[in-house]
């Protein structure tokens, strides 16, 4: 452990990944609560209005997310939380790479980007082309770039099986490049 990490047991964890995520949840809850308030009064003529239930949920979610975020930022550096996750691990302090580079290198982020691109290209490029490229990308993300040609052939086979299953067996009309 680095000297600064060892010296700062009482330091608040504003920068850990967990604190960032809890903050996002807190902001979402607050936005939901504000949205509920804008739906109108919770009771009209003694009856519950459409805003009543969202208001209840919004208040509860905001309170709990705030408590979760405060607990995280007050947690001493390096101490594990109730799920066993350490702030050092959560923040990824062991890695020397910067947060942006770490994010770009993360296979999960790459898979997210690939899936979003696939969804965007699905109706434009049609099922065959977009799916074959997507399947190949997922295979590369899971097993690396070795034996790319064999992976490409397998990707085509998976795409064809998918087409047969959805289109022929279950009568789903899949988008095609030229219809």
């Amino acid at each position: 452990m680095s000297r600064s990490a060892a010296r700062a047991p009482a330091k608040a964890q504003f920068t850990s990944a967990a604190a960032g995520f809890y903050l996002v949840l807190l902001l979402l809850s607050v936005a939901y609560l504000v949205g509920s308030l804008r739906l109108g009064p919770p009771m009209i003529d003694g009856r519950l209005a459409p805003s009543f239930f969202p208001l209840l949920i919004g208040i509860a979610a905001t309170a709990l997310c705030l408590a979760q975020w405060l607990a995280e930022i007050r947690r001493p550096r390096g101490q594990a939380d109730e799920t066993g996750e350490s702030t050092l691990a959560a923040a990824g302090d062991s890695s020397e790479a910067g947060p942006v580079r770490r994010m770009v290198r993360s296979p999960a982020i790459r898979l997210m980007v690939a899936t979003c691109l696939y969804i965007a290209a699905f109706s434009v490029l049609g099922y065959w082309l977009s799916s074959a490229l997507y399947v190949l990308t997922v295979m590369v993300l899971f097993a690396g770039r070795e034996r790319l040609l064999s992976k490409a052939v397998i990707a085509l086979v998976i795409t064809a099986i998918g087409y047969l299953m959805f289109s022929e067996l279950f009568n789903v009309r899949l988008p095609l490049l030229w219809e």
Binding site: G35, L48, I57, A61, A71, R110, V138, M139, L169, V172
Partner: protein, 509 residues
């Protein structure tokens, strides 16, 4: 009695080659998915969900039942051979199965696991068939106010069951409830949280939530765990070849375990299954603990005692029957699998509830027949015929496996509505679930919050309208009071009493 006859009569449906094909295929897919660490039968069901649009609903429900049963026993394969449970429900099996594997009795351990799964699964299914009609009749006594308290009870119990993680579970449940409020209000035509989008006006569909939560988030989790998969493959290389005849446990071994152990463990599993949020892992754990407690040789456990395997496996398979009770009679799913089965019913316009057993008996009876068929015939048959190969299936290429799952998940989310918007929504739900899981939030509570949210709100508003806004109605109506007291009891035992005990014991030590 009529319902029992209908279930017995439904076995004839299995003579139809198409139905039999889907039931067997479902069972095999469920076994393979639960055998591979990281994959679950829940994921298999989530991938099957889009196909139910094109499939006959009876066949779809029968396939769901066989996947469910397979999911509870398939995990024992890797739990025994490499000490890594393929599914959480097989955690206790690993404790006894792996030591047996180490002394060359792995196939015997798998044979005991398979036999116990058969007993537990059949016992749970029979109890379900016999008791469910009576529970459905009793559930007719629960009125609007009581229905709110019942759903609140289910959600609270699911949250407090996540010991040591209650705040996160509560947040995930609230996120599910938030998602459920998107769209037009059910009682007054007011759009809520739609941001002017016509596609959100009808609310968020169940399909993107299920596929996103269980398939996309699993892909995102697995893509980061390449090394772990390599380790498992290396470990499997050392597993010796297994002969088919080694799987059959000797009668003397079964006698030594004793009928009482099978019966008691199955009963524990069934009862645990009826509780919201408990699941197969808790059923297996409690039955295992009970087997150790009542054993004359408790020191033999943990060193390869087949009785431990029998207790855990018969209990986790009996959970299947128990977990379907609240789903079929009250429309309250207790775990992710029953939540997806509920999704299949909802997608086909069937609302579960007290009347379901009467009005839709022709749909429910075949499902229960399939559950029984899977337990009694498919579990032992599959283990005997395909057991030696299942161990090799675990070594299947991950890139091929996950690329196929990714394609099925993303295209599957398109199938329901032919909408790119639904695909996008699936991705959003998948990313949310991935980060929630990464930070220790149980996503099953999010799903149950989403599914139960609309009914919770509807019954709350109806109950308060009926009582002219008087909230004491939840304590004065007998049916509601029953569930309020039940909630208090569960909260006391799960969230208050246990931590106090732990605190006391840690202070004394």
């Amino acid at each position: 009695m009529d319902f029992i006859h209908q279930v017995i009569g439904s076995f004839s449906l299995l003579l139809d080659p198409t139905v039999l094909f889907y039931v067997i295929a479902g069972f095999l897919v469920g076994t393979v998915f639960s055998a591979i660490p990281g994959l679950t039968a829940t994921l298999a069901l989530a991938l099957l969900l889009p196909l139910t649009y094109s499939l006959d609903v009876t066949t779809a429900l029968m396939a769901c039942a066989s996947i469910y049963m397979a999911g509870m026993c398939g995990g024992s394969i890797t739990a025994t051979t490499i000490n890594i449970p393929g599914a959480p429900s097989s955690m206790m099996t690993a404790l006894e199965g792996y030591p047996m594997q180490q002394r060359g009795e792995g196939p015997l351990a798998l044979g005991h696991a398979s036999f116990a799964s058969m007993i537990g699964g059949t016992f749970g299914a029979i109890l379900l068939v016999v008791l469910a009609p009576f529970i459905a009749d009793a559930s007719l006594l629960v009125q609007t106010t009581g229905k709110f308290s019942l759903i609140a009870f289910a959600l609270i119990v699911i949250v407090v069951a996540q010991r040591g993680n209650i705040r996160r579970a509560a947040i995930a449940t609230l996120l599910g409830l938030m998602l459920a409020t998107v769209g037009l209000d059910a009682m007054v035509p007011v759009a809520r949280f739609t941001f002017g989008s016509g596609e959100l006006a009808a609310g968020i569909d169940l399909m993107p939530v299920i596929i996103g939560t269980f398939a996309i988030s699993e892909l995102l989790t697995q893509v980061s765990q390449r090394d772990q998969a390599r380790q498992i493959r290396e470990q499997l290389k050392n597993v010796t070849r297994i002969r088919r005849r080694d799987f059959i446990p000797p009668l003397s071994g079964i006698r030594k375990i004793g009928a009482a152990c099978y019966f008691k463990s199955s009963t524990i599993g069934y009862l645990v299954g009826t509780l919201p949020g408990a699941g197969g892992s808790m059923g297996g754990f409690l039955a295992y603990v009970e087997a150790v407690r009542t054993s004359r040789t408790p020191e033999s456990f943990g060193k390869g005692n087949p009785k431990g395997i029998a207790a855990a496996e018969s209990a986790n398979n009996a959970v299947c029957g128990g977990a379907l009770v609240p789903m079929l009679t009250f429309g309250i799913p207790g775990d992710p699998i029953t939540a997806i089965v509920l999704g299949v019913l909802i997608i086909n316009g069937i609302q579960p509830g007290p009347q379901l057993m009467e009005s839709q008996a022709e749909l429910i009876a075949p499902m229960l027949a399939s559950l029984m068929f899977s337990a009694l015939i498919l579990i032992p048959l599959t283990m005997y015929l395909l057991g030696p190969y299942f161990i090799r299936i675990v070594t299947i290429r991950r890139d091929v496996l996950f690329a196929t799952i990714a394609l099925l998940a993303v295209v599957g989310s398109y199938v329901a509505t032919y909408s790119i918007f639904q695909m996008g929504m699936t991705m959003v739900m998948g990313i949310l679930a991935f980060y929630l899981r990464k930070h220790g939030f149980p996503v099953v509570t999010l799903l149950l919050g989403f599914i139960l949210g609309p009914n919770l709100e509807e019954y709350l508003r109806r109950a308060l309208t009926l009582s002219n806004g008087d909230p004491t109605t939840f304590f004065t109506q007998p049916d509601s009071l029953f569930f309020v007291v039940l909630t208090a009891v569960f909260v006391y035992f799960l969230a208050i009493r246990k931590p106090l005990q732990l605190k006391t014991s840690s202070e004394s030590s």
